[in-house]
């Protein structure tokens, strides 16, 4: 492990070392200030975009494939339909499959306890009560903030070599993918310098989010604009049309949510306090195990 050189400017020792029976504990600077700041702005934007996006979806809770809507044949829809008990049930359809999703999708309780016909429930949308106009305002404001923050992140990552040094897949990363899968399955905690670097699966997940999901979200979002379509016609043709773009926008949102759930689970698994601190103050505690025969 000591054969891998440490990148001094990237992981500078920010505090003193402490030695106990498990080895030597060092506090390092895990994430620099601009990165920490942009990370939390990004989270704020994503939450606002998610909630307001679901509000916008609720205005017409159905997705289609192609340039126009095929109202009788949606790819995905949440509807309200009378059940055998005579009450309104929330039904979610995906292609030809139907699921009873009462109280979550299709039909759900309002804050005042009333059951109403709604795509996504009140607790998932911004604002809670139905308002397409306000949902749009939230969405477009935070879309701009998110894009500007993302552009800053890209520029900073290039200029500071964060992208080249920490995120880019190196040859040894590609080679160690199988080993990394095994380590993940065995719940192996990295120690030493290894703990201060992204593992290959982590790198691939981050790279996919930054260079695939985020651009897709922006492009499919913009190509729902009839004004922008006068410029993005080629892109709409590529993805199959405006309604396809809207469907892909929704799928991208779902993948962002999936990524975030896994991301948070990994933080909890890796040590939530240490990980959170590394994204708030930047300080991160790393254990360097004592090698046999070496004196503390």
């Amino acid at each position: 492990m000591s054969s891998i050189p440490r990148v001094e400017t990237d992981v500078a020792t920010a505090g003193g070392a402490r030695v106990d029976g498990h080895g030597e504990w060092r506090t390092v600077l895990r994430h620099r200030l601009p990165l920490r700041l942009m990370h939390w702005i990004n989270l704020l934007c994503m939450l606002a975009l998610l909630g307001s996006g679901l509000q916008i979806f609720n205005a017409h809770p159905a997705l289609y494939w192609g340039p126009a809507s095929t109202f009788d044949d949606p790819v995905f829809a949440t509807i309200a339909a009378p059940g055998a008990d005579g009450k309104a049930h929330g039904i979610t359809t995906i292609a030809d499959a139907r699921f009873d999703t009462t109280d979550v999708l299709g039909v759900s309780k309002r804050a005042d306890g009333m059951r109403v016909k709604r795509g996504f429930p009140e607790w998932a949308t911004i604002p809670g009560p139905r308002s397409l106009a306000l949902g749009r305002r939230w969405h477009f404001f935070f879309a701009w903030l998110w894009v500007i923050n993302g552009a800053c992140y890209l520029l900073w990552s290039l200029a500071s070599r964060h992208l080249a040094r920490d995120l880019a897949m190196q040859r040894r990363d590609w080679r160690s993918i199988p080993a990394s899968i095994v380590e993940h399955l065995r719940f192996h905690h990295p120690v030493g310098d290894e703990a201060t670097r992204y593992n290959p699966l982590q790198k691939l997940a981050y790279l996919a989010v930054i260079f695939m999901l985020a651009p897709l979200a922006v492009l499919t979002g913009l190509s729902m604009s009839p004004q922008m379509d006068s410029l993005l016609g080629w892109w709409l043709q590529l993805v199959g049309g405006r309604q396809s773009a809207r469907t892909i926008h929704f799928v991208v949102m779902s993948l962002f949510v999936l990524f975030t759930v896994v991301h948070v689970l990994m933080v909890v698994y890796a040590g939530p306090i240490n990980e959170m601190r590394s994204m708030i103050s930047g300080r991160f505690r790393v254990r360097y195990p004592q090698r046999r025969g070496e004196r503390p």
């Binding site: 017409h60 308002s131 305002r137 939230w138 009839p226 405006r242």
Partner: protein, 261 residues
């Protein structure tokens, strides 16, 4: 109590606390969003995105045309929305007469106000376009529209100096309070080649549900910016004096005036 059971109790209570904290934070976050949404100041801050989107998107797209489609892609039923059967007396009277008494007016800051019957409109230069209609709700339909380019009508009427916006006054009372639907665009959109005063949909006179006898097609806008049942086209210097002052019926309900995304 053994150490282990104390640890277990501690762990459960900690887990319960954590769960409550997360749930509390979630509820607090959403309640906060709702409180922010009812603050006029905050909603105003969110609104800064609108002129930004408008300027950037217009800068990028210039006067490019909206996509036009082959006739084979026309949606069987052009889904109507908003008003679909106006009940105002003046409209019902015209409808009963097959719109023979209808006169489209062009007035305001013009040298020569116009009054045009449907026959007169049909005898003017016509543009036909198969375009996609995008509702602000998210759905789209494709239809074939024919009509007179608005630029032609404005040129016939000759704009006076100071003309900046075009306000469309309609027959329908969508609010049900005696007011009438209205909309507005600036001259950039008014003079766009695909902006037409449409008198036919899919080769037939525009059906009542879709805006008979004439409606606007402003192809790079969402549906609410393309008024149906148009009675008067008024050229103005500003739109603040009409309705709620925000340039359109839906704008007065909080929707953006740009309406291009």
């Amino acid at each position: 109590m053994t150490d282990r059971s104390r640890d277990a109790t501690f762990a459960t209570s900690r887990r319960r606390l954590l769960r409550a904290a997360i749930a509390g934070a979630g509820v607090g976050l959403l309640a906060g969003c709702d409180r922010l949404s009812s603050s006029a100041r905050f909603v105003g801050v969110l609104g800064v995105a609108e002129p930004l989107s408008m300027r950037v998107q217009r800068g990028l797209t210039g006067d490019r045309l909206a996509a036009e489609y082959p006739e084979s892609m026309i949606t069987p039923v052009f889904r109507p929305n908003g008003s679909t059967s106006p009940q105002t007396p003046e409209y019902l009277a015209l409808k009963a007469d097959g719109f023979r008494g209808f006169r489209l007016q062009v007035a305001g800051l013009v040298e020569r106000p116009l009054e045009l019957s449907l026959d007169a409109l049909r005898s003017l230069p016509t543009r036909t376009q198969v375009t996609r209609h995008d509702c602000v709700e998210g759905w789209s339909v494709i239809g074939k529209w024919s009509g007179v380019p608005l630029s032609h009508l404005l040129d016939l009427a000759r704009l006076k100096p100071g003309a900046r916006y075009v306000v469309f006054h309609c027959f329908d009372d969508i609010a049900g309070d005696g007011s009438r639907y209205y909309e507005s665009v600036d001259l950039l959109d008014a003079y766009h080649p695909q902006t037409i005063v449409a008198h036919s949909l899919n080769g037939s006179p525009v059906p009542v549900a879709n805006g008979a006898p004439v409606r606007l097609r402003i192809e790079r806008k969402l549906g609410y910016k393309q008024p149906k049942y148009v009675r008067l086209i008024e050229v103005v210097n500003g739109y603040g004096a009409f309705g709620g002052g925000r340039g359109g019926y839906w704008e007065d309900q909080g929707y953006d005036w740009y309406g291009g995304i």
